[in-house]
């Protein structure tokens, strides 16, 4: 589904090179749930943002469904509509109602009719458990509700992959559960997911595979059982000791 080959992303900050992603090669298979963990600043989010082209690649390749994002001729917009993304800060459109948030891209990008898009939107709102809020504005919702709307908004495009960029990090603790529940349900339905998170419980329970990143490098990768029980790398052991 998504293949990254020697992926590199270098930022230049005040004449200093920061290698945010430093040569990552991995293959995310269809239907797989991959959780990316690692300390702050290890390049997890940047890696995720490379997968739908929100960051331009410095070197290497990202193949999404066989299409190379590094190729200049690739129509990014076509790739992105197949790759849903959920952000840490929700990034709902504040000037649109909840339903409009879900409908807009369906109509403007997928060229669906309004009635069709609204029906799809309502179904998804029901699925994430906030159908009664369809005519509210994002500012009137709690963080957890906003994030669930954001997930529904991404799902409305019927993506083949969903990327989650620390979806619960900006939430109050009591709202983390409701968002994770929606994500678990998605995973059970067989959605291909790449999740950057600090929720170790979620990783352990839902992930098919865990990627551990540090300083832009893929330090360790394996099943959650392997990673949480008997990590090989010293850096991973240290990290787990600190977070668990």
């Amino acid at each position: 589904m998504i293949k990254t080959v020697d992926l590199e992303k270098v930022f230049v900050v005040r004449d200093q090179e920061v290698r945010a992603v430093d040569g990552i090669t991995t293959h995310i298979k269809s239907g797989e749930v991959v959780v990316v963990i690692g300390p702050s600043g290890s390049g997890k989010s940047t890696y995720l943002r490379c997968l739908n082209g929100l960051e331009t690649l410095t070197a290497g390749h990202v193949h999404v469904d066989g299409i190379d994002l590094a190729d200049r001729k690739t129509d990014m917009n076509k790739v992105r509509r197949e790759v849903g993304m959920v952000f840490q800060q929700f990034n709902l459109f504040p000037h649109k109602t909840v339903l409009e948030n879900l409908v807009l891209a369906q109509m403007k990008v997928r060229k669906r009719k309004r009635s069709e898009a609204e029906e799809k939107g309502r179904t998804l709102l029901k699925k994430v458990g906030i159908s009664e809020k369809e005519s509210s504005y994002p500012s009137q919702l709690s963080g957890g509700q906003q994030q669930r709307v954001a997930i529904a908004r991404a799902l409305a495009m019927e993506p083949k992959v969903m990327l989650f960029d620390e979806p619960t990090s900006a939430l109050d603790p009591e709202m983390v559960g409701e968002v994770l529940e929606v994500m678990k349900q998605l995973a059970r339905e067989g959605m291909t997911m790449v999740v950057v998170t600090h929720e170790m419980g979620f990783a352990r329970e839902v992930a098919d595979r865990v990627l551990f990143m540090d300083y832009g490098k893929l330090v360790e990768e394996g099943t959650p059982e392997h990673f949480f029980e008997e990590p090989k790398e010293e850096r991973a052991k240290l990290f787990l000791r600190q977070v668990l």
């Binding site: 993304m85 952000f87 109602t97 991404a154």
Partner: protein, 300 residues
């Protein structure tokens, strides 16, 4: 205190206030003489109320009708009229110079505002674009327009562009005002766009929207809402700046005021009235903007 002081001051210079002479410069009742357009015979006189409809048939058999006040009708049926002969006259209410000037100021400002908004949005978008050429061009435009006085721009527009491109004084005036406002609007729009969190553009792009779609549906509506107060200020300024077009002999409110003064010498009254009329225009605009702001506040 101030009012009393002014009153004493005007007493001292023997100024006679003549407020009663002002209203006639808004509307006045005027006799409008109607003359025959053709050589022909009067075929009918029909009285309706105190007005009479006169029908004159020319030698070619075409009828022309004239509506006049009955008391001015001195004609009989079958009377022969030459072209230019008086049929009668009619008294009508007519807009005085101040009303006409107010109207000219209003529509010149309105058209210039629309032009300024269009130029401003386009330039604002160029200003934040990735394309270096577009960015440099927009910066150059903004710097040149902001860095020179509007009065000088008006003269250049009227005397240079107006002559070279052969456009009249009113298009010159409107063009200069619109382009002047556009530079300021562009900076307001740019600030508005840049004030929208980056995540909004990213969310729109991640849903597969291209940049123009994201701008039109996501960024600009939010930026517009945020920039409404400074935009309102800009358009209020534009209404006031439109008074400068009087220097290229457009009969706007200010020029009408000056013309009325030359015939009445009611200098104080007229300028107070002119100021008040500008205030009505700008205050109405503020109210409209405040209403729009309240409408847009529902999503807060």
């Amino acid at each position: 205190m101030i009012v009393v002081g002014l009153w004493i001051a005007t007493k001292r210079i023997d100024y006679t206030w003549r407020w009663n002479r002002i209203p006639q410069y808004f509307v006045y009742h005027d006799k409008d003489a109607k003359t025959s357009d053709v050589d022909g015979t009067v075929t009918s006189l029909v009285n309706i109320g105190n007005q009479t409809t006169v029908t004159v048939r020319s030698e070619d058999g075409d009828d022309s009708t004239y509506i006049i006040d009955t008391k001015t009708a001195n004609l009989k049926v079958d009377e022969y009229l030459l072209e230019g002969d008086t049929v009668g006259s009619i008294a009508e209410w007519k807009a005085g110079p101040l009303s006409v000037g107010l109207w000219v100021t209003l529509w010149i400002s309105a058209v210039a505002s629309v032009i300024g908004l269009v130029i401003g949005v386009v330039t604002g978008l160029c200003r934040v674009s990735q394309n270096l050429t577009l960015r440099q061009l927009s910066i150059t435009y903004i710097e040149i327009i902001r860095g020179t006085p509007l009065l000088v721009q008006l003269f250049i527009f009227y005397f240079f562009l107006g002559t070279v491109l052969d456009i009249g004084r009113i298009p010159s005036g409107i063009g200069a005002l619109g382009i002047f406002a556009g530079a300021y609007v562009a900076e307001i729009i740019r600030a508005g766009i840049q004030s929208i969190p980056k995540g909004q553009m990213e969310a729109a792009r991640s849903l597969g929207m291209n940049v123009p779609k994201a701008m039109v549906y996501i960024i600009l509506p939010q930026a517009f809402k945020r920039t409404l107060p400074p935009l309102a200020g800009q358009f209020i300024s534009l209404i006031k700046d439109s008074s400068l077009v009087s220097v290229i002999a457009i009969t706007d409110l200010t020029k009408s005021g000056r013309e009325v003064i030359t015939s009445t010498f009611a200098v104080f009254e007229i300028w107070f009235v002119v100021a008040f009329l500008y205030l009505i225009l700008t205050f109405s605009l503020s109210q409209v903007v405040a209403w729009v702001e309240r409408r847009l506040a529902v999503s807060d």
